[in-house]
Symmetry: C2
Amino acid sequence: LRFFFMENILQKYLIDLEPIGRRIEVEAGTTLLEAAQQAGVDLVAACGGTGICGTCRVRPLNGELNPLTPNEEEMLEPEQVKAGYRLACQAVPHGNLKVEIPPESLPVAQKIQLEGRQAAVALQPGVLAVDLALEPPSLHDLRADLRRVEEALGYNLESEPAALEQLSQELRRNNWSVRLAVRLSPPGGQNYRLAGTFAPGTPLLGLAVDLGSTKLAIYLVNLETGATLAQSGVMNPQIAFGEDVVNRIAFANKSEDNRRLLQTRVVEALNAALVELCARAHASPGQVVEAVVVGNTAMHHFFTHLPVVQLGTAPYVAAASRPLEAWAAGLGLKLAPGALVYLPANIAGYVGGDHTAALLATRAYPGRVRLLVDIGTNTEISLSSGDEIFTCSTASGPAFEGAHIHDGMRAAPGAIERVHFNEGKVHVSTIGGLAPVGCCGSGILQALAELLSAGVIDERGALRKDAPGVRQVDGRSEFLLVPAARSGHGRDIVITRRDVNEIQLAKGAIRAGIEIMLQKSGLQAGDVEAWIIAGAFGTYLDLASAVRVGMFPAQPLERFHQVGNAAGMGAKQMLLSLAERREATRLAGKAHYVELTVEPSFTGEFMKALYLARSGG
Amino acid sequence: LRFFFMENILQKYLIDLEPIGRRIEVEAGTTLLEAAQQAGVDLVAACGGTGICGTCRVRPLNGELNPLTPNEEEMLEPEQVKAGYRLACQAVPHGNLKVEIPPESLPVAQKIQLEGRQAAVALQPGVLAVDLALEPPSLHDLRADLRRVEEALGYNLESEPAALEQLSQELRRNNWSVRLAVRLSPPGGQNYRLAGTFAPGTPLLGLAVDLGSTKLAIYLVNLETGATLAQSGVMNPQIAFGEDVVNRIAFANKSEDNRRLLQTRVVEALNAALVELCARAHASPGQVVEAVVVGNTAMHHFFTHLPVVQLGTAPYVAAASRPLEAWAAGLGLKLAPGALVYLPANIAGYVGGDHTAALLATRAYPGRVRLLVDIGTNTEISLSSGDEIFTCSTASGPAFEGAHIHDGMRAAPGAIERVHFNEGKVHVSTIGGLAPVGCCGSGILQALAELLSAGVIDERGALRKDAPGVRQVDGRSEFLLVPAARSGHGRDIVITRRDVNEIQLAKGAIRAGIEIMLQKSGLQAGDVEAWIIAGAFGTYLDLASAVRVGMFPAQPLERFHQVGNAAGMGAKQMLLSLAERREATRLAGKAHYVELTVEPSFTGEFMKALYLARSGG
């Protein structure tokens, strides 16, 4: 018995903290609060972890734990228990575990890229408000409600029964004066469709969504003014079923139930976020009469419950690439009863409507020749020259999100985001100004650039063994970035040779993609007038460092534009204007997709691009 | 305690047997099997009521009963228990109760009107089969599935995501050769819509449904040949929430949950019936690519979940009267993923698409002037003369379905359907040739005609006290139709003065409606070349008797046509032909609806029509 007890104590478990993306190894018996603290992630824990304040709520996504403690039974609402919430200070994992830390349990919110430079758009929404004041029916005017409305409008109004139901109810509730939300169907066509019926004066709202693999960016927009009323970034709950889309496709292809789960979870998250946005904007989700949803092709298919089996194997062909309109209620989205969801064109199996939206949002940047790089686990690159667009997708991997890096983490409080070497000393700054606990993508990139400039690593990525800060552990070289004494968790923060290689692979994939796009267009890097860097990592990266390590060709920094969430901005533009949708379709149609895996020169370019400080520009 | 026991024994409960429509009063402690036997309804009970054969399955629709007995736990499948089934020999009511007797528990099936005279229709279905054989995608042909299909078709294919999902799956399952079910949207328009995707050669099927208040008539049709593959009549499960639409509207208006219940129950019944029809036809419900559903306006609103609050109060205005197309999946119907349901035009608040369908189905009857009478709880009447149609609805009540009649019952085994007086003797014949247990509508009507001819009742409906067979019970007159010794349940079967009055009210309402229609058209009864009597009761009634009691004017019997379920036939015609749908819409648009309650001459006509053997013709 004693022996068994010992074994239990010595057992170690891996705990993944999501959406922060931090992994920590803990001993059996450690609470989730202690695990987070060991990982340098501060949870709100007002009572100091004694189980009596209820503030350190977390949600285990898989794995075994101890049963609910009496403290938890007292502090958690029944709905929270039902949704799987635990108090981190009470929950003890019995094995490897993935746990979600909701934003309210973190003292400083995680950095989420919502803002982006939005182009000015002339308002031309797909759904318009039509105000009607009707005579009520009488024994001598027995016209049905729909006919009464259609005769007042002068045209037929197509409608799902659910929208008709609301029409009849609102007509009576508002004494026969209502505001209709009417949609031309198809856009520019000659059929009118009823999206919803409201009390007179009710503002009509729209929803723009960027379905990222990691985060969902959600914007609530007034369709009559174009104003963004509220916006929010929430974790993509699909992360519980696979960190990247490749893993999620594999999960989805295991069973129909799995694939359905991916669909319903993301829709539930959107519905919940919408309720919260509407509360902030003093509106109701029922006022949302149209939505535009963008995402990569896999997210697009997950969201619409299209099969993804063919996205998992060559030749990676989408079920649908052209723009789709789907009935929101049919997908489970709780909007106005007749609301549709517009999904812009996908470009290819790994280049989705999010890239179409980013192309749309960034088309106004100056210059005839523009290169758009949207950096993520897959990085999409488009080179536009005049009326020609070449597009590719390149597997840059999750290293820039802190994954597969020894002390990597996502851009969350305590993450090192800036690194400077000054006279042999390392200076780091962290998100939220906390003691450092790990390194996010932009920090690692800058660290590499500094190590390269200081001559600590060479162009192949090898660490100079005699350089200051470099040490050998188990026969492998690593650089000590922050010693244990100055870190937030009391352990060293290091950059290993393997970390350097991960970044080389990631930036090499991007650079090789850029080179192929230039070759296809018959252009040189110097011909590109605007280098547009989109996405969360792209927004925070240090451009000089990125050029220094050869991720981008050496070009004047003023030609680079870090534009934030261009996909989300493009989605908003399409929400506000049918002309923008047509332009997006045109852009997607013009894009020549280049499949890098069959491109003869790709391997050579990739090999060259692996070198740090690659010349050229 | 003893006293309490006595009280319990003396307690009596009312048991309603559905869909037979038989009510029986039983003492506490009586099993449902005994109650049915006392009511003269023979259930299948192979083991003689000892609880060991499991054949006497019934489903209590409301009320309290004893808990499941061990015999039931052994004999019933878990799904049957979940669906609320009991064994009639084991179930003991603890109060008033309504119980459904499924067809399989009756030794002789109940009479259900499915057949009707169907007009010859040139096939022009709304959904067509398009066979495609495509080149599979490759690394050098990365077109998305939908684009590949659209380019082969030469036109765009609109589609809900669920239909696209099936397209991608079936393309791969069938090696890129598939049969598409394609629909012009709107009919005759220029947009094509995908209803479903199938293996090559799969027949495309359609579903026609007549939603009766009491019964659902369902037809499975091959859209390519026009053949009816299978048909079925099942109880409308809404009967548990109200015997007629007026009661159901009141029930629906009590809460949103109630209204939703009426919708889901009828859809569940249709889905279950479809599975059964498909099994008989060796087909699958997924092959059904379109449905046509007709019903009175209340049933139409229940089915589509439109509000019915305005159908419950004057001026009885429908939410929608024109034809509607609804996505089948949105209503919960499990057909092909892109299948639509077509609902033809309603004519008024109490004249629905079922009457439109009946007008369509009977338009081919000879004669310029035709009068269509569709008899039910509400009787719809249309008088067509040349290009003019007058239509009304008249509240004939449920007497012809055996309700509100002392020994009334629906047309089920043991019901008297024919009555003849011969030299002072009464001869009756029953459905199924069983010993008589009650009288269905056609039996009561004929009995009245015979009593009138024999001088037993006078034209006001009074029973001659000295006539043979007439007796006084509690000061009220009644006629002994079948003495206890010859009945199936050992009790007398009688016709009371009140029964006569009920029939007078019912036939008077119909006759008054006919007279008003003639007045509106400026015609005499003799001008009508075809008297078309539709509906289940109309099919089985004895025409001479109906004329004898003054329900119809005295006209040559060869001008009368008993056409069966004309609404169901019309629904099938619309399923098979878009031209028929256009014609139905035209007929509904031409119908001048006359609201009898505001018609000045109605009351006078009604008073006149109450007399039995009203002159005129």
